[in-house]
């Protein structure tokens, strides 16, 4: 891919030969043009920032929604636990695209959700709103699709906590908030980091959701990459964009891995 990013695109897609032989001489036919194109306007970088914001927002909302749920599942009795976990996994039994199409029906101007919201907005004297083809729709769907990836690692982490720690804290006079903030939360951080990586990376590169729900300005970096490979048949520029995305993802994963290492390990070494 790195090699492709320095080559010209072929006449009908694919890649042009990277050398030609002319008058018996061997000439390399490589270019920096594809990389220059990335920086000559600010639009690609601002799109990258927008995609990062969407993915970050998705991850944050996923944490906020998944944490109480995972805690509840981990603390519920064994009898219900399996059932609750099954309910979390249940959406995977239907196809990803089918679930997005289901959201398209929910968001459509004729749908009950939009109709109900517009009753409220018109009562307040505001313009009717449209949910379909908006960034709200994209982020909602991103959260919906990736939520289980946050719940499961969090649950796996929370389930292993030693309850005696909480009992001890209570005996020593900690209230319920202190118990959570000083014991459960720090212990659950590796679970959060693991979940965050599982949510952040796929939602950064996704293109199906913005394509179907995003409207004219809801697109993300994944859509532009797909456009280069499919519609424009410009593999070299597609490679440039993919490389940038991969580099950013790798950096963030390294960061998460560093943060995600249990604090105890470092202390132990001292």
């Amino acid at each position: 891919m790195l090699f492709a990013s320095f080559r010209y695109s072929g006449e009908y897609g694919g890649l042009a030969p990277w050398y030609y032989i002319e008058d018996g001489g061997f000439t390399l036919d490589l270019t920096l043009e594809n990389w220059r194109r990335l920086f000559e306007t600010e639009i690609y970088l601002s799109l990258l920032i927008k995609s990062l914001t969407y993915a970050l927002l998705t991850t944050l909302i996923c944490v906020l929604m998944a944490y109480p749920l995972a805690l509840m599942i981990a603390r519920s009795s064994k009898r219900y636990r399996d059932l609750l976990l099954l309910l979390v996994i249940l959406p995977f039994w239907s196809n990803f695209l089918v679930r997005i199409y289901a959201w398209m029906i929910i968001f459509s101007p004729q749908g009950a959700l939009t109709a109900a919201l517009n009753v409220v907005t018109s009562a307040l004297g505001l313009e009717p709103i449209s949910l379909m083809f908006s960034s709200t729709a994209v982020i909602t769907c991103l959260v919906y699709v990736h939520l289980p990836f946050m719940i499961l690692p969090l649950y796996a982490n929370l389930e292993k906590h030693d309850n005696r720690l909480l009992d001890a804290a209570q005996d020593l006079g900690a209230n319920r908030f202190q118990c959570f903030w000083l014991i459960t939360w720090p212990l659950s951080l590796p679970g959060i980091y693991a979940g965050a990586v599982l949510v952040f990376i796929p939602s950064l590169g996704i293109f199906a959701i913005p394509d179907l729900l995003g409207g004219t300005n809801g697109i993300m970096i994944g859509n532009v990459i797909k456009q280069q490979f499919v519609e424009s048949r410009d593999w070299p520029f597609g490679s440039v964009l993919s490389l940038v995305l991969t580099a950013i993802t790798l950096l963030l994963v390294l960061l998460a891995a560093k943060l995600g290492r249990p604090a105890g390990e470092d202390n132990g070494k001292k």
């Binding site: 006449e11 897609g13 694919g14 459509s108 101007p109 532009v224 456009q227």
Partner: protein, 352 residues
Amino acid sequence: MKKILCCFVLCVSQIAMAEKALHLFNWNDYIAEDTVTRFEEQCGCKVVQDYFSATEEMMAKLLAGAGDYDVVIPTQNAVEALIKQDFLLPLDKSKLSNLGNTAKGFLDKAYDPGNVYSLPYAFTTTLVGYNEEKIAELGINPSDWSIIFDPTVLAKIKGKVTVMDDSEELFGAALKYLGYSINDNDEKHLKEAQAVILKAKPYWAAFNSSSYIKELTVGNIWVAHGYSSDMFQARADAAEAGRDFSVNFVLPKQGAVLALDNMVIPKKARDPELALQFINFMMAPENAAELTNVVGTGNPNAAATPFIEPEILKISAIFPNDEVQKSLETVSARNAKQRRLINKLWTEIKVR
């Protein structure tokens, strides 16, 4: 042991029998289901269909190696590109008894002189489909490209318009709106077209090439840029569903893109014999007419005319008369440099 072997042989022969299949790569909603069923009965095979919704999408898939379809239905400019790529099998005309049915005006075109590799299947125009009641209520003239490009008109229908997610079609429409040719490759003119598109973009709900039929029929969208055959379907669907509005379509007065779709056989086809049989079948008058009656395409088959419903023959956007045809243009294949420019402009439109 013998029994098991017998079973095995039976199974294998079953698979072998089921394997006789015609692999068709076609535009979505571009063949009548009854026609497919009849062909399956006649040839004793299965028709396996794959769909695409844009020429570029089809080319990307074919050129990336998925070339083992028996029949593909590309538009004229794609035929030209595929011939240059040495991708197609010359048609064995001796096996096509219905060859004489095609109207002379659709044969021997510049993209495939002598029709060595391709035969016309159907044609469509790219135009504007609209919600008749809403547009009349707002006093907008639908037979003008300003309905999707002029911000003063769009202000009345903000968020209720979709345009095609297809650089060729959208640039074609914008060039026509500006009074240029669809095949204009002058960088200045293309940049003007880009500016028109960027100014109109905030008013559009989405770039949509695949689900505008549904959005229009349900009433989510009031104006859609798309193919005449799709608009024909949206109109029929809305009427059938008993909506309290009707969908109609019209050719903009500045002119539009005419797409002539063709049947071709790739070199890598699994069963070229069956492919020829299918092409011949589609050229039979009643099958060609069914395509028009059910899907609403224009028809290059002269012998089919008596079988086509007279109502459809009257619609100028489907069967344009000579006067209207002068304003229509077909897209020619662009060379690599021209494609790079238009792709760059198109990517900028999508990203901005």
